[in-house]
Symmetry: C2
Subunit: 324 residues, 2 copies
Protein backbone atom coordinates (compact mmCIF):
# COMPACT_ATOMS: atom_id res chain seq x y z
CA UNK A 1 0.00 0.00 0.00
CA UNK A 2 1.83 3.08 -1.28
CA UNK A 3 1.25 6.65 -0.09
CA UNK A 4 -1.07 7.52 -2.99
CA UNK A 5 -3.16 4.34 -2.59
CA UNK A 6 -3.42 5.20 1.08
CA UNK A 7 -4.63 8.73 0.31
CA UNK A 8 -7.22 7.34 -2.15
CA UNK A 9 -8.44 4.95 0.54
CA UNK A 10 -8.85 7.80 3.03
CA UNK A 11 -10.60 9.93 0.43
CA UNK A 12 -13.31 7.46 -0.50
CA UNK A 13 -13.92 6.12 3.00
CA UNK A 14 -14.34 9.63 4.44
CA UNK A 15 -16.25 11.15 1.52
CA UNK A 16 -18.74 13.91 2.39
CA UNK A 17 -19.91 16.22 -0.40
CA UNK A 18 -20.27 19.94 0.37
CA UNK A 19 -20.98 22.75 -2.06
CA UNK A 20 -18.46 25.04 -0.35
CA UNK A 21 -15.55 22.70 -1.13
CA UNK A 22 -14.23 24.09 -4.42
CA UNK A 23 -11.22 21.76 -4.47
CA UNK A 24 -10.72 18.93 -1.96
CA UNK A 25 -8.01 16.31 -1.45
CA UNK A 26 -5.49 16.07 -4.29
CA UNK A 27 -3.93 19.47 -4.97
CA UNK A 28 -1.33 21.50 -3.06
CA UNK A 29 -4.07 22.97 -0.88
CA UNK A 30 -7.82 22.71 -0.52
CA UNK A 31 -9.85 25.64 -1.87
CA UNK A 32 -12.95 26.53 0.14
CA UNK A 33 -15.69 29.15 0.04
CA UNK A 34 -16.63 30.37 3.52
CA UNK A 35 -20.20 31.69 3.80
CA UNK A 36 -20.52 35.47 3.50
CA UNK A 37 -20.40 37.26 6.83
CA UNK A 38 -19.58 34.23 9.00
CA UNK A 39 -16.58 34.01 11.23
CA UNK A 40 -14.37 30.96 11.06
CA UNK A 41 -13.57 28.84 14.14
CA UNK A 42 -10.37 26.79 13.85
CA UNK A 43 -9.06 24.19 16.26
CA UNK A 44 -6.26 21.60 16.09
CA UNK A 45 -5.56 18.65 18.37
CA UNK A 46 -3.10 15.79 18.34
CA UNK A 47 -3.47 12.27 19.70
CA UNK A 48 -0.24 10.35 20.32
CA UNK A 49 -0.36 6.56 20.76
CA UNK A 50 0.40 5.52 24.34
CA UNK A 51 -0.16 9.09 25.61
CA UNK A 52 -3.71 9.98 24.55
CA UNK A 53 -5.00 6.46 24.05
CA UNK A 54 -3.83 2.99 25.18
CA UNK A 55 -1.92 1.06 22.52
CA UNK A 56 -4.69 -1.57 22.60
CA UNK A 57 -7.31 0.94 21.33
CA UNK A 58 -9.20 -0.24 18.24
CA UNK A 59 -8.46 1.74 15.04
CA UNK A 60 -12.17 2.63 14.69
CA UNK A 61 -12.11 4.25 18.13
CA UNK A 62 -8.87 6.12 17.34
CA UNK A 63 -10.43 7.53 14.15
CA UNK A 64 -13.57 8.54 16.02
CA UNK A 65 -11.72 10.10 18.92
CA UNK A 66 -9.17 11.99 16.80
CA UNK A 67 -12.08 13.84 15.23
CA UNK A 68 -14.26 13.98 18.37
CA UNK A 69 -11.70 15.88 20.47
CA UNK A 70 -11.54 18.51 17.73
CA UNK A 71 -15.28 18.77 17.14
CA UNK A 72 -15.64 19.17 20.89
CA UNK A 73 -13.61 22.39 20.61
CA UNK A 74 -15.97 23.67 17.92
CA UNK A 75 -18.90 22.73 20.16
CA UNK A 76 -17.36 24.75 22.99
CA UNK A 77 -17.28 27.79 20.66
CA UNK A 78 -20.83 27.29 19.40
CA UNK A 79 -19.48 26.72 15.88
CA UNK A 80 -21.04 24.64 13.12
CA UNK A 81 -18.55 22.06 11.76
CA UNK A 82 -17.62 22.34 8.08
CA UNK A 83 -14.16 21.08 7.07
CA UNK A 84 -11.27 19.06 8.47
CA UNK A 85 -7.70 18.25 7.52
CA UNK A 86 -5.96 15.12 8.78
CA UNK A 87 -2.25 14.49 9.38
CA UNK A 88 -1.74 10.79 9.88
CA UNK A 89 1.66 9.49 10.97
CA UNK A 90 1.81 5.70 10.78
CA UNK A 91 4.58 3.20 11.54
CA UNK A 92 3.47 1.20 8.48
CA UNK A 93 0.70 1.21 5.91
CA UNK A 94 -1.61 -1.49 7.33
CA UNK A 95 -4.72 -1.64 5.14
CA UNK A 96 -6.99 -3.16 7.81
CA UNK A 97 -5.89 -0.62 10.41
CA UNK A 98 -6.45 2.24 7.97
CA UNK A 99 -9.91 1.00 7.00
CA UNK A 100 -10.93 0.82 10.67
CA UNK A 101 -9.51 4.25 11.39
CA UNK A 102 -11.27 5.86 8.42
CA UNK A 103 -14.57 4.18 9.27
CA UNK A 104 -14.40 5.58 12.82
CA UNK A 105 -13.54 9.04 11.51
CA UNK A 106 -16.33 8.91 8.93
CA UNK A 107 -18.90 7.58 11.43
CA UNK A 108 -18.60 10.89 13.24
CA UNK A 109 -17.91 13.15 10.25
CA UNK A 110 -20.73 12.06 7.97
CA UNK A 111 -23.73 12.84 10.23
CA UNK A 112 -22.12 16.26 10.88
CA UNK A 113 -21.65 16.85 7.12
CA UNK A 114 -17.98 17.52 7.84
CA UNK A 115 -15.80 17.24 4.73
CA UNK A 116 -12.22 15.98 4.92
CA UNK A 117 -10.50 18.37 2.49
CA UNK A 118 -6.81 17.61 2.83
CA UNK A 119 -3.91 16.61 5.04
CA UNK A 120 -0.74 14.61 5.03
CA UNK A 121 0.34 11.00 5.48
CA UNK A 122 3.81 10.27 6.79
CA UNK A 123 5.74 7.40 8.24
CA UNK A 124 6.68 7.57 11.92
CA UNK A 125 5.43 6.74 15.42
CA UNK A 126 1.59 6.54 15.44
CA UNK A 127 0.13 10.01 15.89
CA UNK A 128 -2.91 11.80 14.52
CA UNK A 129 -3.40 15.55 14.19
CA UNK A 130 -6.71 16.96 12.99
CA UNK A 131 -7.57 20.57 12.22
CA UNK A 132 -11.28 21.41 12.13
CA UNK A 133 -12.99 24.47 10.70
CA UNK A 134 -16.46 25.67 11.60
CA UNK A 135 -18.68 28.70 11.13
CA UNK A 136 -20.14 31.04 13.70
CA UNK A 137 -22.12 34.26 13.10
CA UNK A 138 -19.98 37.36 13.79
CA UNK A 139 -19.80 38.01 17.53
CA UNK A 140 -21.77 34.88 18.50
CA UNK A 141 -18.87 32.59 19.49
CA UNK A 142 -18.93 31.16 23.02
CA UNK A 143 -15.71 32.27 24.63
CA UNK A 144 -13.95 31.59 27.92
CA UNK A 145 -13.84 35.20 29.03
CA UNK A 146 -17.50 36.13 29.43
CA UNK A 147 -18.44 34.63 32.83
CA UNK A 148 -19.91 37.21 35.26
CA UNK A 149 -20.52 37.23 39.00
CA UNK A 150 -23.86 35.56 39.77
CA UNK A 151 -23.78 33.28 36.71
CA UNK A 152 -24.72 29.67 37.31
CA UNK A 153 -22.26 26.95 36.22
CA UNK A 154 -23.55 23.94 34.28
CA UNK A 155 -21.99 20.80 32.95
CA UNK A 156 -23.33 18.44 30.28
CA UNK A 157 -23.37 14.65 30.62
CA UNK A 158 -21.40 12.78 33.28
CA UNK A 159 -17.80 13.93 33.79
CA UNK A 160 -15.59 11.24 35.28
CA UNK A 161 -16.85 8.36 33.15
CA UNK A 162 -13.89 8.42 30.75
CA UNK A 163 -11.30 8.50 33.54
CA UNK A 164 -13.12 5.70 35.39
CA UNK A 165 -13.02 3.66 32.18
CA UNK A 166 -9.30 4.25 31.70
CA UNK A 167 -8.50 3.44 35.33
CA UNK A 168 -10.61 0.27 35.17
CA UNK A 169 -8.73 -0.76 32.05
CA UNK A 170 -5.25 -0.01 33.34
CA UNK A 171 -5.40 -0.54 37.10
CA UNK A 172 -4.67 -4.04 38.31
CA UNK A 173 -7.10 -3.72 41.22
CA UNK A 174 -9.86 -1.30 42.10
CA UNK A 175 -11.68 -1.16 45.40
CA UNK A 176 -14.82 -2.01 43.43
CA UNK A 177 -14.10 -3.08 39.87
CA UNK A 178 -16.94 -2.43 37.41
CA UNK A 179 -19.23 -5.20 36.21
CA UNK A 180 -18.84 -5.97 32.49
CA UNK A 181 -21.86 -3.88 31.43
CA UNK A 182 -20.59 -0.89 33.37
CA UNK A 183 -17.09 -1.35 32.00
CA UNK A 184 -18.49 -1.45 28.46
CA UNK A 185 -20.34 1.80 29.09
CA UNK A 186 -17.33 3.54 30.66
CA UNK A 187 -15.00 2.39 27.86
CA UNK A 188 -17.51 3.69 25.33
CA UNK A 189 -17.36 7.11 27.03
CA UNK A 190 -13.54 6.96 26.93
CA UNK A 191 -13.21 5.75 23.35
CA UNK A 192 -16.15 7.38 21.60
CA UNK A 193 -16.82 10.69 23.31
CA UNK A 194 -19.75 12.66 21.88
CA UNK A 195 -18.84 16.19 20.83
CA UNK A 196 -21.73 18.33 22.06
CA UNK A 197 -22.22 20.20 18.80
CA UNK A 198 -26.00 20.70 19.08
CA UNK A 199 -25.62 21.93 22.65
CA UNK A 200 -22.91 24.42 21.62
CA UNK A 201 -25.11 25.78 18.82
CA UNK A 202 -28.07 26.11 21.19
CA UNK A 203 -25.99 27.94 23.79
CA UNK A 204 -25.23 30.84 21.42
CA UNK A 205 -26.82 33.92 22.92
CA UNK A 206 -27.55 32.02 26.15
CA UNK A 207 -24.18 31.12 27.71
CA UNK A 208 -21.80 33.80 28.95
CA UNK A 209 -18.80 31.44 28.69
CA UNK A 210 -18.08 27.84 27.70
CA UNK A 211 -15.23 25.34 27.51
CA UNK A 212 -14.98 21.66 26.72
CA UNK A 213 -13.69 19.29 29.38
CA UNK A 214 -10.58 17.67 28.01
CA UNK A 215 -8.16 18.16 30.90
CA UNK A 216 -10.58 17.77 33.85
CA UNK A 217 -13.58 19.82 34.96
CA UNK A 218 -11.76 21.69 37.70
CA UNK A 219 -8.81 22.74 35.54
CA UNK A 220 -10.96 23.63 32.53
CA UNK A 221 -13.39 25.64 34.64
CA UNK A 222 -10.28 27.33 36.02
CA UNK A 223 -9.54 28.62 32.50
CA UNK A 224 -13.00 30.25 32.39
CA UNK A 225 -12.43 31.80 35.81
CA UNK A 226 -8.96 33.09 34.91
CA UNK A 227 -9.95 34.49 31.52
CA UNK A 228 -13.14 36.05 32.90
CA UNK A 229 -11.45 37.49 36.01
CA UNK A 230 -13.85 35.76 38.41
CA UNK A 231 -13.98 32.88 40.91
CA UNK A 232 -15.97 29.66 40.51
CA UNK A 233 -17.48 27.58 43.31
CA UNK A 234 -18.48 24.00 42.56
CA UNK A 235 -20.69 22.01 44.93
CA UNK A 236 -19.31 18.47 45.02
CA UNK A 237 -22.69 17.01 45.92
CA UNK A 238 -24.24 18.52 42.79
CA UNK A 239 -21.80 16.87 40.38
CA UNK A 240 -23.76 14.50 38.16
CA UNK A 241 -22.79 10.87 38.39
CA UNK A 242 -23.69 8.20 35.84
CA UNK A 243 -25.19 4.98 37.26
CA UNK A 244 -22.08 3.10 36.12
CA UNK A 245 -19.74 5.56 37.81
CA UNK A 246 -21.71 5.30 41.04
CA UNK A 247 -20.93 1.59 41.15
CA UNK A 248 -17.11 1.88 40.70
CA UNK A 249 -14.35 2.73 43.16
CA UNK A 250 -14.95 4.71 46.34
CA UNK A 251 -16.36 8.19 46.90
CA UNK A 252 -12.98 9.95 46.98
CA UNK A 253 -11.88 8.25 43.78
CA UNK A 254 -15.14 9.11 42.02
CA UNK A 255 -14.85 12.76 43.04
CA UNK A 256 -11.29 12.81 41.71
CA UNK A 257 -12.43 11.34 38.38
CA UNK A 258 -15.27 13.86 38.14
CA UNK A 259 -13.08 16.86 38.88
CA UNK A 260 -9.72 15.92 37.41
CA UNK A 261 -10.35 12.99 35.09
CA UNK A 262 -10.33 14.69 31.74
CA UNK A 263 -11.11 13.11 28.36
CA UNK A 264 -14.87 13.59 28.84
CA UNK A 265 -15.44 16.19 26.09
CA UNK A 266 -18.53 17.43 27.84
CA UNK A 267 -19.20 21.18 27.93
CA UNK A 268 -18.88 23.28 31.06
CA UNK A 269 -20.69 26.60 30.65
CA UNK A 270 -22.00 29.60 32.55
CA UNK A 271 -25.36 31.33 32.16
CA UNK A 272 -26.95 34.28 33.93
CA UNK A 273 -29.58 33.30 36.52
CA UNK A 274 -32.32 34.45 34.12
CA UNK A 275 -31.29 31.80 31.59
CA UNK A 276 -31.43 28.80 33.95
CA UNK A 277 -34.95 27.83 32.90
CA UNK A 278 -33.93 27.98 29.23
CA UNK A 279 -31.03 25.62 29.95
CA UNK A 280 -33.40 23.21 31.68
CA UNK A 281 -35.67 23.33 28.63
CA UNK A 282 -32.67 22.64 26.41
CA UNK A 283 -31.79 19.55 28.45
CA UNK A 284 -35.15 17.99 27.66
CA UNK A 285 -35.09 19.05 23.98
CA UNK A 286 -31.62 17.54 23.51
CA UNK A 287 -32.22 14.54 25.80
CA UNK A 288 -28.94 15.42 27.51
CA UNK A 289 -28.21 15.86 31.23
CA UNK A 290 -27.38 19.52 31.90
CA UNK A 291 -26.62 19.89 35.59
CA UNK A 292 -26.15 23.05 37.62
CA UNK A 293 -23.01 22.48 39.67
CA UNK A 294 -22.12 25.87 41.13
CA UNK A 295 -21.87 29.61 40.69
CA UNK A 296 -19.55 32.38 39.56
CA UNK A 297 -18.41 34.79 42.28
CA UNK A 298 -16.03 37.66 42.75
CA UNK A 299 -12.39 36.69 43.22
CA UNK A 300 -10.31 34.12 41.41
CA UNK A 301 -9.71 30.38 41.22
CA UNK A 302 -11.99 27.37 41.54
CA UNK A 303 -13.22 26.16 44.94
CA UNK A 304 -14.91 22.80 45.37
CA UNK A 305 -17.08 22.71 48.49
CA UNK A 306 -18.85 20.01 50.49
CA UNK A 307 -22.44 20.04 51.81
CA UNK A 308 -21.54 22.41 54.68
CA UNK A 309 -19.69 24.81 52.41
CA UNK A 310 -16.29 23.51 53.58
CA UNK A 311 -13.60 23.48 50.89
CA UNK A 312 -12.52 20.04 49.70
CA UNK A 313 -8.76 19.82 49.14
CA UNK A 314 -7.80 18.12 45.91
CA UNK A 315 -5.00 15.73 45.08
CA UNK A 316 -4.08 17.25 41.74
CA UNK A 317 -5.48 19.77 39.36
CA UNK A 318 -6.00 17.99 36.07
CA UNK A 319 -4.25 16.71 33.05
CA UNK A 320 -1.29 18.80 31.96
CA UNK A 321 1.38 17.75 29.52
CA UNK A 322 4.93 18.50 30.64
CA UNK A 323 3.79 18.88 34.28
CA UNK A 324 6.88 18.83 36.53
Amino acid sequence: MGEFTLIDEIRWRCAVARADVVLGIGDDAAILSPPAGAQLAISMDTLVAGIHFPLSTMPFDIGWKALAVNLSDLAAMGAEPAWATLALTLPDADAAWLAGFCDGFAALAQPQRLALVGGDTTRGPLSITVTVHGFVPAGAALRRDGARQGDRIFVSGYPGDAAAGLTSLLAAALLRAPAQDDLDYLMQRLNRPTPRIELGLALRGLASAAIDISDGLRQDLGHIAARSGVAATVHAAQLPQSPALARVGDAAQRLHWQLAGGDDYELCFCVPQAAVAAVQGLASVLGLALTEIGAIEAGNGVRVVGPGGEEIPLQRGGWEHFAA
Copy 2:
Protein backbone atom coordinates in the same frame (compact mmCIF):
# COMPACT_ATOMS: atom_id res chain seq x y z
CA MET B 1 8.39 24.28 31.95
CA GLY B 2 4.70 23.26 32.14
CA GLU B 3 2.33 23.05 29.20
CA PHE B 4 0.86 26.50 29.78
CA THR B 5 4.26 28.19 30.18
CA LEU B 6 5.24 26.50 26.95
CA ILE B 7 2.16 27.83 25.15
CA ASP B 8 2.87 31.35 26.47
CA GLU B 9 6.44 31.10 25.19
CA ILE B 10 5.22 30.08 21.73
CA ARG B 11 2.64 32.86 21.74
CA TRP B 12 4.99 35.72 22.45
CA ARG B 13 7.87 34.50 20.31
CA CYS B 14 5.62 34.02 17.27
CA ALA B 15 3.45 37.12 17.77
CA VAL B 16 2.07 38.72 14.58
CA ALA B 17 -0.89 41.11 14.89
CA ARG B 18 -3.64 40.91 12.27
CA ALA B 19 -6.99 42.70 12.28
CA ASP B 20 -8.78 39.59 11.00
CA VAL B 21 -7.83 37.55 14.09
CA VAL B 22 -10.84 38.06 16.38
CA LEU B 23 -9.59 35.57 18.98
CA GLY B 24 -6.16 33.94 18.82
CA ILE B 25 -4.34 31.43 21.03
CA GLY B 26 -6.01 30.71 24.37
CA ASP B 27 -9.62 29.63 23.82
CA ASP B 28 -11.12 26.36 22.56
CA ALA B 29 -10.74 27.55 18.98
CA ALA B 30 -9.44 30.60 17.15
CA ILE B 31 -12.06 32.94 15.70
CA LEU B 32 -11.18 34.56 12.39
CA SER B 33 -12.81 36.89 9.87
CA PRO B 34 -12.05 35.88 6.29
CA PRO B 35 -12.20 38.75 3.79
CA ALA B 36 -15.49 39.06 1.93
CA GLY B 37 -15.54 37.22 -1.38
CA ALA B 38 -12.17 35.50 -1.03
CA GLN B 39 -11.71 31.77 -1.18
CA LEU B 40 -9.70 30.05 1.51
CA ALA B 41 -6.68 27.84 0.70
CA ILE B 42 -5.82 25.32 3.42
CA SER B 43 -2.81 23.02 3.58
CA MET B 44 -1.34 20.78 6.29
CA ASP B 45 2.06 19.10 6.47
CA THR B 46 3.91 17.08 9.07
CA LEU B 47 7.63 16.82 9.71
CA VAL B 48 8.77 13.78 11.70
CA ALA B 49 12.26 13.77 13.27
CA GLY B 50 14.57 11.30 11.53
CA ILE B 51 12.23 11.04 8.54
CA HIS B 52 11.85 14.59 7.23
CA PHE B 53 14.95 16.06 8.81
CA PRO B 54 18.13 14.57 10.30
CA LEU B 55 18.13 14.35 14.11
CA SER B 56 21.09 16.76 14.12
CA THR B 57 19.00 19.59 12.58
CA MET B 58 19.07 22.84 14.59
CA PRO B 59 15.76 23.79 16.24
CA PHE B 60 15.73 27.13 14.37
CA ASP B 61 15.88 25.25 11.05
CA ILE B 62 13.13 22.82 12.14
CA GLY B 63 10.86 25.75 13.05
CA TRP B 64 11.59 27.47 9.74
CA LYS B 65 11.12 24.36 7.65
CA ALA B 66 7.92 23.20 9.39
CA LEU B 67 6.32 26.44 8.26
CA ALA B 68 8.15 26.70 4.92
CA VAL B 69 6.86 23.37 3.58
CA ASN B 70 3.32 24.55 4.30
CA LEU B 71 3.74 28.06 2.90
CA SER B 72 5.17 26.44 -0.20
CA ASP B 73 1.80 24.75 -0.74
CA LEU B 74 0.05 28.13 -0.49
CA ALA B 75 2.59 29.51 -2.98
CA ALA B 76 1.74 26.69 -5.38
CA MET B 77 -1.93 27.72 -5.18
CA GLY B 78 -1.21 31.43 -5.63
CA ALA B 79 -2.64 32.10 -2.17
CA GLU B 80 -1.73 34.92 0.21
CA PRO B 81 -0.73 33.54 3.65
CA ALA B 82 -2.86 34.62 6.61
CA TRP B 83 -3.06 32.21 9.57
CA ALA B 84 -1.40 29.07 10.89
CA THR B 85 -1.98 26.51 13.61
CA LEU B 86 0.84 24.46 15.09
CA ALA B 87 0.76 20.98 16.66
CA LEU B 88 4.04 20.40 18.42
CA THR B 89 4.82 16.96 19.83
CA LEU B 90 7.96 17.03 21.97
CA PRO B 91 9.77 14.36 23.97
CA ASP B 92 10.38 16.92 26.72
CA ALA B 93 9.87 20.62 27.34
CA ASP B 94 13.38 21.94 26.62
CA ALA B 95 13.28 25.75 26.89
CA ALA B 96 16.33 26.36 24.70
CA TRP B 97 15.05 24.02 21.99
CA LEU B 98 11.65 25.67 22.06
CA ALA B 99 13.12 29.18 21.84
CA GLY B 100 15.17 28.19 18.79
CA PHE B 101 12.20 26.48 17.15
CA CYS B 102 9.91 29.47 17.69
CA ASP B 103 12.53 31.91 16.44
CA GLY B 104 12.89 29.91 13.23
CA PHE B 105 9.13 29.73 12.77
CA ALA B 106 8.75 33.46 13.46
CA ALA B 107 11.64 34.43 11.16
CA LEU B 108 9.54 33.15 8.27
CA ALA B 109 6.07 34.02 9.61
CA GLN B 110 6.65 37.63 10.54
CA PRO B 111 7.74 39.02 7.15
CA GLN B 112 4.73 37.22 5.63
CA ARG B 113 2.40 38.72 8.30
CA LEU B 114 1.26 35.19 9.09
CA ALA B 115 -0.44 34.91 12.50
CA LEU B 116 -0.15 31.78 14.63
CA VAL B 117 -3.70 31.49 15.95
CA GLY B 118 -3.78 28.16 17.78
CA GLY B 119 -2.66 24.57 17.99
CA ASP B 120 -1.68 21.91 20.46
CA THR B 121 1.38 20.86 22.46
CA THR B 122 1.73 17.23 23.45
CA ARG B 123 4.39 14.90 24.75
CA GLY B 124 5.67 12.23 22.39
CA PRO B 125 8.28 11.53 19.70
CA LEU B 126 9.40 14.81 18.05
CA SER B 127 6.98 15.73 15.29
CA ILE B 128 5.56 19.00 13.99
CA THR B 129 2.31 19.49 12.07
CA VAL B 130 1.36 22.90 10.73
CA THR B 131 -1.88 23.92 9.04
CA VAL B 132 -1.77 27.14 7.01
CA HIS B 133 -4.62 29.24 5.71
CA GLY B 134 -4.41 31.72 2.88
CA PHE B 135 -6.67 33.77 0.66
CA VAL B 136 -7.18 33.65 -3.08
CA PRO B 137 -9.72 35.55 -5.20
CA ALA B 138 -12.58 33.28 -6.31
CA GLY B 139 -11.51 31.19 -9.29
CA ALA B 140 -7.91 32.46 -9.29
CA ALA B 141 -6.20 29.54 -7.51
CA LEU B 142 -3.36 27.83 -9.39
CA ARG B 143 -4.36 24.20 -9.67
CA ARG B 144 -2.72 21.03 -10.92
CA ASP B 145 -5.34 20.26 -13.53
CA GLY B 146 -5.07 23.16 -15.97
CA ALA B 147 -2.02 22.27 -18.10
CA ARG B 148 -2.76 22.22 -21.86
CA GLN B 149 -0.96 20.82 -24.87
CA GLY B 150 1.62 23.33 -26.09
CA ASP B 151 2.20 24.89 -22.66
CA ARG B 152 5.79 25.51 -21.65
CA ILE B 153 7.03 24.02 -18.37
CA PHE B 154 9.05 26.21 -15.99
CA VAL B 155 10.78 25.66 -12.72
CA SER B 156 11.92 28.23 -10.16
CA GLY B 157 15.33 28.20 -8.47
CA TYR B 158 17.64 25.20 -8.56
CA PRO B 159 16.03 21.82 -7.89
CA GLY B 160 18.48 19.23 -6.60
CA ASP B 161 20.29 21.49 -4.14
CA ALA B 162 18.43 20.17 -1.07
CA ALA B 163 19.00 16.52 -1.97
CA ALA B 164 22.66 17.20 -2.71
CA GLY B 165 22.94 18.83 0.71
CA LEU B 166 21.31 15.88 2.46
CA THR B 167 23.46 13.34 0.60
CA SER B 168 26.59 15.34 1.38
CA LEU B 169 25.63 15.35 5.04
CA LEU B 170 24.75 11.67 5.29
CA ALA B 171 26.91 9.89 2.74
CA ALA B 172 30.27 8.68 3.96
CA ALA B 173 31.89 9.31 0.59
CA LEU B 174 30.90 11.18 -2.53
CA LEU B 175 32.69 11.07 -5.84
CA ARG B 176 33.31 14.78 -5.40
CA ALA B 177 32.47 16.00 -1.89
CA PRO B 178 31.49 19.67 -1.75
CA ALA B 179 33.87 22.35 -0.49
CA GLN B 180 32.76 23.94 2.79
CA ASP B 181 31.23 27.01 1.11
CA ASP B 182 29.23 24.85 -1.26
CA LEU B 183 28.15 22.56 1.57
CA ASP B 184 26.98 25.58 3.57
CA TYR B 185 24.91 26.75 0.60
CA LEU B 186 23.41 23.31 -0.06
CA MET B 187 22.57 22.81 3.62
CA GLN B 188 20.92 26.21 3.64
CA ARG B 189 18.72 25.11 0.74
CA LEU B 190 17.88 21.89 2.61
CA ASN B 191 17.20 23.48 5.99
CA ARG B 192 15.74 26.86 5.09
CA PRO B 193 13.82 26.45 1.86
CA THR B 194 12.20 29.63 0.54
CA PRO B 195 8.47 29.30 -0.08
CA ARG B 196 7.90 31.10 -3.40
CA ILE B 197 4.92 33.12 -2.18
CA GLU B 198 5.55 36.21 -4.36
CA LEU B 199 6.01 34.01 -7.42
CA GLY B 200 2.75 32.16 -6.71
CA LEU B 201 0.85 35.43 -6.37
CA ALA B 202 2.37 36.75 -9.60
CA LEU B 203 1.47 33.58 -11.50
CA ARG B 204 -2.28 34.07 -10.91
CA GLY B 205 -3.86 34.56 -14.30
CA LEU B 206 -0.60 33.58 -16.00
CA ALA B 207 0.06 29.92 -15.17
CA SER B 208 -2.26 27.16 -16.37
CA ALA B 209 -1.06 24.79 -13.61
CA ALA B 210 1.40 24.79 -10.72
CA ILE B 211 2.77 22.51 -8.01
CA ASP B 212 5.52 22.80 -5.43
CA ILE B 213 8.44 20.40 -5.57
CA SER B 214 8.46 18.49 -2.33
CA ASP B 215 8.76 14.91 -3.58
CA GLY B 216 11.00 15.49 -6.62
CA LEU B 217 10.48 17.44 -9.86
CA ARG B 218 9.66 14.40 -11.98
CA GLN B 219 7.07 12.95 -9.61
CA ASP B 220 5.47 16.31 -8.85
CA LEU B 221 5.29 17.27 -12.52
CA GLY B 222 3.71 13.84 -12.98
CA HIS B 223 0.83 14.98 -10.75
CA ILE B 224 0.22 17.96 -13.05
CA ALA B 225 0.30 15.67 -16.09
CA ALA B 226 -2.06 13.12 -14.53
CA ARG B 227 -4.55 15.66 -13.23
CA SER B 228 -4.49 17.65 -16.47
CA GLY B 229 -4.72 14.56 -18.72
CA VAL B 230 -1.58 15.46 -20.67
CA ALA B 231 2.05 14.36 -21.06
CA ALA B 232 5.12 16.36 -20.06
CA THR B 233 8.54 16.28 -21.69
CA VAL B 234 11.52 17.62 -19.77
CA HIS B 235 14.84 18.36 -21.47
CA ALA B 236 17.57 17.22 -19.10
CA ALA B 237 20.05 19.70 -20.54
CA GLN B 238 17.71 22.60 -19.73
CA LEU B 239 17.45 21.78 -16.02
CA PRO B 240 18.96 24.66 -14.08
CA GLN B 241 21.95 23.81 -11.93
CA SER B 242 23.29 25.95 -9.11
CA PRO B 243 27.05 26.62 -9.17
CA ALA B 244 27.40 24.59 -5.96
CA LEU B 245 25.50 21.63 -7.41
CA ALA B 246 27.66 21.68 -10.52
CA ARG B 247 30.68 21.06 -8.32
CA VAL B 248 29.32 18.01 -6.42
CA GLY B 249 29.04 14.35 -7.40
CA ASP B 250 28.92 13.18 -11.01
CA ALA B 251 26.53 14.01 -13.85
CA ALA B 252 24.23 11.01 -13.26
CA GLN B 253 23.98 11.77 -9.56
CA ARG B 254 23.24 15.44 -10.21
CA LEU B 255 20.51 14.57 -12.69
CA HIS B 256 19.00 12.20 -10.14
CA TRP B 257 19.02 14.93 -7.47
CA GLN B 258 17.45 17.41 -9.88
CA LEU B 259 14.66 15.08 -10.95
CA ALA B 260 13.99 12.97 -7.88
CA GLY B 261 15.60 14.78 -4.98
CA GLY B 262 12.62 16.45 -3.41
CA ASP B 263 12.67 18.87 -0.49
CA ASP B 264 13.38 21.85 -2.78
CA TYR B 265 10.05 23.68 -2.37
CA GLU B 266 10.51 25.41 -5.69
CA LEU B 267 7.50 25.81 -7.98
CA CYS B 268 7.03 23.87 -11.19
CA PHE B 269 4.43 25.56 -13.42
CA CYS B 270 3.04 25.61 -16.93
CA VAL B 271 2.19 28.65 -19.05
CA PRO B 272 0.84 29.02 -22.57
CA GLN B 273 3.47 29.98 -25.15
CA ALA B 274 2.08 33.52 -25.24
CA ALA B 275 2.97 34.02 -21.55
CA VAL B 276 6.63 33.02 -21.82
CA ALA B 277 7.83 36.61 -22.15
CA ALA B 278 5.81 37.61 -19.08
CA VAL B 279 7.47 34.81 -17.08
CA GLN B 280 10.89 36.03 -18.20
CA GLY B 281 9.96 39.52 -17.05
CA LEU B 282 8.82 38.12 -13.73
CA ALA B 283 12.17 36.40 -13.23
CA SER B 284 13.97 39.73 -13.37
CA VAL B 285 11.40 41.55 -11.22
CA LEU B 286 11.63 38.86 -8.52
CA GLY B 287 15.38 38.26 -8.92
CA LEU B 288 14.61 34.57 -9.14
CA ALA B 289 15.73 32.02 -11.73
CA LEU B 290 12.70 30.85 -13.74
CA THR B 291 13.87 28.30 -16.27
CA GLU B 292 11.96 26.77 -19.15
CA ILE B 293 12.61 23.03 -18.94
CA GLY B 294 10.13 21.43 -21.33
CA ALA B 295 6.67 21.33 -22.80
CA ILE B 296 3.23 19.83 -22.36
CA GLU B 297 2.12 17.40 -25.05
CA ALA B 298 -0.72 15.03 -25.81
CA GLY B 299 -0.55 11.72 -24.00
CA ASN B 300 0.32 10.91 -20.43
CA GLY B 301 3.29 10.61 -18.07
CA VAL B 302 6.60 12.48 -17.81
CA ARG B 303 9.47 11.83 -20.21
CA VAL B 304 12.95 13.14 -19.58
CA VAL B 305 14.97 13.41 -22.79
CA GLY B 306 18.61 13.97 -23.67
CA PRO B 307 20.03 16.37 -26.25
CA GLY B 308 19.09 14.06 -29.19
CA GLY B 309 15.55 13.56 -27.89
CA GLU B 310 16.40 10.09 -26.54
CA GLU B 311 14.55 9.16 -23.35
CA ILE B 312 16.70 8.94 -20.23
CA PRO B 313 15.73 6.01 -18.02
CA LEU B 314 15.47 6.90 -14.34
CA GLN B 315 16.44 4.98 -11.24
CA ARG B 316 13.38 5.84 -9.19
CA GLY B 317 10.50 8.22 -9.36
CA GLY B 318 10.70 10.41 -6.30
CA TRP B 319 10.03 10.50 -2.63
CA GLU B 320 7.04 8.43 -1.59
CA HIS B 321 6.17 7.42 1.95
CA PHE B 322 5.18 3.77 2.36
CA ALA B 323 6.76 2.86 -1.01
CA ALA B 324 7.04 -0.92 -1.23
